[in-house]
Amino acid sequence: MYEMDTDQVLDLLQSDDPEEQREGAFAARDLNLQDAVPFLVDLIKSESLGVQEAADMALRKMGGHHSVQALIPLLSNDSPQIRNLAMDILRHIGHHNIDSLIMLLGDKDPDLRIFSADIIGHSGSFMGIRPLCDALLNDPEVNVRYQAAVSLGELGRTEASECLKKAFDDEEWVQYAVVEALSKIRDESATHALIQSLDDSSELVSSMIVDALGEMGNVKALPMLMRRMESSPTALRNKIVRAVINILGSKAVVFLDERQKDRLRDYLLVAIEDEDIDTQDAAVAGLGYVGGDQATSKILSVVTSYDPDVDAYRMEKAEDALVSIGFNQALVQGVTMENDSAALAAVRALGRIGSPEAVQELIQAFNSKTRDLQREISREIASSGGEELKVFFLNLLQTHEDGDIIKNSMKFLANKLRDEESVTELMPFLDHPWDDVKETALDSILIIGGEKALQEFKNMFLSTDPLKRLMAVYAFGRLGAGENIHVLKMALQDESPEVRKMALEALATICPDNKEVISQATEVMNDPDRKVRLALVDFLGGCPGQEALVCILECLHDEDEWVRIRAVESLGSKKDISVVPRILSLWENSSKLQKIKIIESLGIIGGQSSFRALLDILDDSDPDILDSAEKALDKLQDKGGE
């Protein structure tokens, strides 16, 4: 690539011509020419932004001991733009020469000490820790100490915890950075440092420490936090409660003895009323862990302020907590609450608990509830209940008029029980006035399946109502086209085009295994209805073999354009060069749409004849056709290169 040698590159860099300087910079970068460093650093000061940028790119890429050393003086350059640029490059490459940066921490200019602390923080280097600690504890300038703390956090290494802890004697401004840094270090030593500093800290710093401990999640912080809980004012205590819950999660039950649990519960019952939402939510979760009737009541009372649409996530968390506390009288009471959100949460929680007694409570409440809650109850118990609810749901089917409740009942009978007996009960719903109910009925019956269902559909197939026959054929497809091939064959001759079309769709599910199906299906080649012929092309497209191919070729001459288009498409996907002339013979009488489809198919099929045809097509006057042809040519070129 480069025939340049070192001298030539250095000459370029020392030229007065910005163009040559840039060329030199890129060459130095590509050759990683360390000898070029002093010149590159010089070019950072160039008036030409183009030259400056090239030098910047080169130094960043090359890095190295010398680069760092040579860039350091730029940190005291008069131009802030150059200072910032040098700083930015050094943050990238500082680790290549950490010693020089450490030396800089002893400079008499406080700004330089701040810069170097910052850069060392970005270096990821272990070597930076001691010098930064030194700066943190001994530098006379508070901003340097602050930056040292920040950088120690940036490095995130255990070894810094000890000195960070000592810095709790410093001004509060530095302490903030120290807490932040320790929370980034995150490990045992950092946790210790924070715990030990908790007692002697101001209220503001204490609350930062508590937040940090909660976020770090180390159980070792627990005893200290529990102790502090007792003696703290409410605001801080709520934060501690939140931290404790964040640390413990569901393990609270195991870690705490009964007495501790009781105390924590008391505090949680207060914290749940904190104005901070996160604290509230932590308290809800916490009450879920420590349990008790009172916890249930309190959670339900907080939920009264939720809007189920807006606070969906918090609702869910509250329900989780209620479920984790488990079945109790407070929860049963909840179902009867006036407030919709609370009643809803109670219903859902009971449903999820799903124990016989919980389900019993829901069934008992059912009749006295609003329609929305009835829907919810039917949904819940449909997923948690079992055989014992069969009568209840069959009864709902007979007596209830609400679509959702009917659907839930049918889903229960199908998904849960696969109850062949209830097929008889479900069949009438295929005549229901609402489509969604009909759909669920059909789906449920087909999920249950079995001889009885099949027989019902066979009878239905004899109906004079075409919609009934359509459903029946659909059912044959779902219950297994292979076994019902004989009825499907009859369906191909049905007087309703919808039915004939559905029969083809059903047959399409088994074509690859059964070639004789093709000859049956092609009987509809001249079907008067285009939908049927479209379905035929679709069906043939999925069938392998010469026989199907021949049939698709015939479809190319269908009177309907979409049938022809889908046939062209289908031929393309078969990638058989021999069909190219046949496809091209359509061109003259094709609409734009059809032409585009032809082009695309040629692009997929490939070969010399496709390529030549596409070149001719570039004489067309339609931009969409041209665009398609260009794309198809790209595709062929790609293939040619393979």
Binding site: L49, M57, E630, Q637
Partner: protein, 292 residues
């Protein structure tokens, strides 16, 4: 949506419904101003089928909702944009940029060259698609220099990655659609009609333009391009990643002669890509100057 309301079916294939098409068409128009006529419905179905597959969506309706409401919709909209606009180009695309080139930048460069009595001009159209942009530039140069043209040495280098578009570019035959923003007198002067609705650029326009295939990501290929007074690279780098953008723009900087100008697409910017150029603002358009 209900099985019955939709018509019950056992089919699993993707087909775009009329309503879905209308939704997507309006959405695309509102997002990027490209209107997809009814006759291109099928085209849209085809082009977007892969996007649906990649996002695991079952229908075009779902895709529409994805584009509107999904958290990842921003990046999907870019992909959609890419699918729709890859080779999109036309004569007099983005008129404010073209006027800026014609009335200000070209004038300035030509005057300077006249003053230096170096009557040589090189323009580079990088990512030229089917050739509208470089031929457009050639026409404008003809208009600017008129009778003086033979005294100048002028070249417009045009390249693209796609061999398909280059085949079309070299033919130089265009439809009304490509010429929709072109003034009638320009069409009369620089094109001849080869058949109804098809216009070939005249040889004198073609003579200034040289096409070849180039991949802009190949720095060494770019080094072979002669130094330029003006570079056009519009609506090409949008889909490159930052690293590649930096390299391409850096190569353009090196290629430009001192006081050379770079045009990029009107929705593109060099922010975070390069500080080396000086952006010069004009009404409705920005051009980037390499100070020399």
């Amino acid at each position: 949506m209900s099985l019955f309301a939709k018509g019950i079916t056992l089919k699993k294939d993707l087909e775009i419904g009329d309503e879905e098409f209308a939704q997507l068409r309006d959405f695309i128009y509102s997002q990027c101003g490209i209107y997809i006529g009814d006759s291109r419905k099928y085209l849209l179905e085809n082009r977007l089928a892969n996007r649906l597959k990649e996002n695991n969506l079952k229908s075009f309706g779902e895709y529409y909702y994805f584009l509107r409401y999904d958290p990842g919709r921003r990046s999907e909209i870019n992909k959609l944009f890419e699918v729709i606009t890859t080779n999109e180009t036309s004569f007099y695309r983005n008129p404010p940029q073209i006027s800026l080139f014609q009335d200000v930048i070209l004038k300035e460069v030509v005057d300077r060259k006249r003053a230096e009595s170096k009557k040589k001009l090189h323009i580079w159209s990088a990512g030229c698609s089917t050739g509208e942009e470089p031929y457009n530039l050639s026409i404008i140069v003809h208009e600017a220099l008129k009778g003086e043209l033979p005294l100048w040495e002028i070249k417009i280098t045009a390249n693209d990655l796609s061999p398909g578009v280059l085949i079309s570019a070299r033919r130089g035959v265009y439809t009304r659609y490509s010429l929709r923003s072109t003034p009638e007198n320009i069409i009369e002067k620089y094109f001849h009609q080869v058949s109804p609705g098809r216009f070939a650029v005249k040889d004198r326009v073609k003579d200034l333009v040289e096409f070849s295939q180039i991949n802009l990501s190949d720095r060494f290929q770019l080094k072979q391009v002669p130094r330029s007074d003006i570079i056009f690279c519009r609506n090409v780098i949008i889909y490159f990643d930052t690293e590649m953008k930096k390299n391409v723009i850096s190569s353009f900087y090196d290629n430009l002669l001192p006081r050379g100008y770079l045009f990029i697409g009107h929705s593109e910017s060099l922010h975070n890509i390069s500080r080396a150029f000086r952006p010069v603002h004009y009404p409705g358009a920005i051009v980037y100057l390499k100070e020399g």
